[in-house]
């Protein structure tokens, strides 16, 4: 039967995700399969969620606070710009070399990559809120904290969520090379070519792409749910 080699490599990769198979490099040992896929997927999600949580805990309050106080523009925007220029491989390489390997070292390092867009967007989002609106809230007797929570944050949600989505994208992408620092992730299939073979390589790429698109899609849905109806009418 003549199958186009391109189709063959992709169907081989899809099969690899579900059924353990002999790889072309291990000499008879069966690798891959659904259980292994799930194990690596869980590892990938684990380090991604942990890193994103740390990035949120640090970046969001700081960005909202600086935006509310209208100060620290240089810091917030500077960190945002510098963050984009950090090479992912350098982060993983340096953390493995200088700090150590494993989840507890890698997750904070990945979080560093996510803090930049979260902090930057939270700051910009709050600064964009009409000062008259904030004055009105203050005139109604709202405390500064509830102005941030009930006025500025809801109005800034589209921008804030944009930052969180950027952070999620960069973290889930970098988690792919986390196996270089001793954290299991779907990147194992890609980086351990000598174990999983060509099918594993392609399977890993497919899974990572699907995971990133799923996370991005869910966050887009979340953003729609969090955006107040009043804002939707205005932008529609």
């Amino acid at each position: 039967m003549n199958v186009h080699p391109l189709l063959a490599s992709f169907s081989g990769a899809v099969e690899f995700i579900f059924i353990p198979q002999e790889s072309n490099v291990t000499g008879g040992k069966e690798v891959g399969g659904f259980d292994k896929t799930m194990e690596l997927l869980v590892g990938h999600i684990e380090v991604t969620v942990l890193a994103l949580a740390i990035a949120l805990l640090v970046g969001l309050p700081l960005g909202l606070y600086l935006g509310h106080k209208e100060k620290g523009e240089l810091v917030a925007v500077g960190i945002g710009n510098a963050g984009r220029a950090i090479p992912e491989l350098a982060v993983i390489a340096l953390v493995a070399t200088l700090v150590g390997i494993g989840l507890r070292n890698v997750a904070p390092a990945l979080a560093l990559l996510g803090i930049a867009p979260i902090l930057n967007n939270a700051y910009v989002g709050v600064r964009q809120v009409d000062p008259a609106t904030v004055d009105a809230a203050r005139g109604m007797g709202m405390s500064e904290l509830s102005i941030i929570r009930k006025v500025e944050l809801p109005l800034a949600i589209p921008t804030v969520m944009g930052g969180i989505r950027s952070a999620a994208i960069v973290i889930v992408a970098t988690a792919t090379i986390a196996p270089l620092a001793g954290v299991e992730s779907l990147g194992d299939f890609i980086l351990n070519r000598n174990v999983y073979g060509e099918n594993g390589l392609l399977a890993g790429a497919i899974l990572v792409a699907l995971l990133a698109l799923t996370i991005e899609g869910s966050l887009a849905l979340l953003q729609r749910r969090l955006t107040s109806d009043g804002l939707k009418v205005k932008t529609a």
Binding site: P5, L6, S9, F10, N81, R84, A85, I86, P87, E88, L89, A90, A93, L94, A96, T97, L98, I169, V172, A173, T176, I177, P179, L180, A181, G187, D188, I190, L191, N192, R193, N194, V195, L201, L202, G204, A205, I206, V208, A209, A212, L213, E216
Partner: protein, 242 residues
């Protein structure tokens, strides 16, 4: 098994360890050393070729990305209904992690620079496209009306009024795209396309000096390109007093 970088490093930078372990520099043996200046002095020349490869990949990718994104933006500017699908399409390209993208294309385009440039230029599309659209949309209607009143055709309005006024946004997009491309190009070592990532990967992650030099070169590259683009912006928009 389970130790990916030993084998992988052997593929890309096998002679790295040999060269290094045969060295007798005192700070090389001392693992607590963050930066070994003696090693840096002796080995700085090894970064020439990777830096050049890095630069070539970045320039090609940003150039191709810019041409395509700019053309798409002009098209969408004229044909409004194309805007949402184009934004969605470039957004999806941006969401797929570059590493996954490299290996998804592998059966099609193989190892090497072509795949790297293809992926990296696709990656820049969203930022450049979105910023160009933003710049064009920000041009006030009154300005366009005035131009039309002076007898300019639509094409003249686009090239002589709208695009010059949109230049700051377009350049801002290029700055972000260039900086992130310089950073992501470190990963093309995984598909044997060279670049400064080879020196990070090849260090086997136990010799920080080698990694830090590569990081420093990348930081310099980012700064140099940023300054270059800012200067270009100043020259292209002489009416804006900065």
């Amino acid at each position: 098994m389970g130790n990916p970088f030993v084998v992988a490093a052997g593929e890309v930078g096998g002679d790295f360890f040999k060269e290094r372990s045969s060295g007798t520099l005192p700070c090389q043996a001392d693992e607590s050393h963050l930066f070994c200046f003696d090693w840096a002095k002796e080995n700085i020349d090894r970064y020439g070729t990777p830096a050049q490869q890095h630069l070539e990949i970045v320039l090609l990718s940003v150039l191709i990305g810019f041409v395509v994104a700019f053309a798409l933006a002009l098209l969408a500017h004229r044909t409004r209904w194309l805007q949402p699908p184009l934004l969605a399409a470039t957004g999806i390209l941006y969401t797929i992690p570059s590493i996954a993208f490299f290996f998804l294309l592998l059966p099609l385009t193989g190892f090497g620079r072509d795949t790297a440039v293809l992926v990296l230029s696709a990656y820049t599309l969203q930022i450049i496209y979105r910023n160009t659209m933003l710049g064009l949309d920000n041009v006030p209607d009154s300005v366009k009306d005035a131009a039309r009143g002076m007898g300019l055709t639509n094409r003249q309005i686009l090239w002589k009024v709208e695009l010059p006024l949109a230049t700051p946004e377009i350049i801002a997009g290029l700055r972000v795209a260039t900086a992130s491309t310089i950073a992501i190009t470190t990963l093309v070592v995984l598909i044997s396309a060279g670049g400064l990532g080879t020196e990070m990967y090849g260090s086997n992650f136990n010799f920080p000096t080698a990694i830090l030099i590569a990081v420093a070169i990348i930081a310099l590259m980012v700064l140099a390109f940023d300054l270059l683009l800012l200067t270009a912006q100043r020259l292209l928009t002489p009416w804006r007093k900065v």
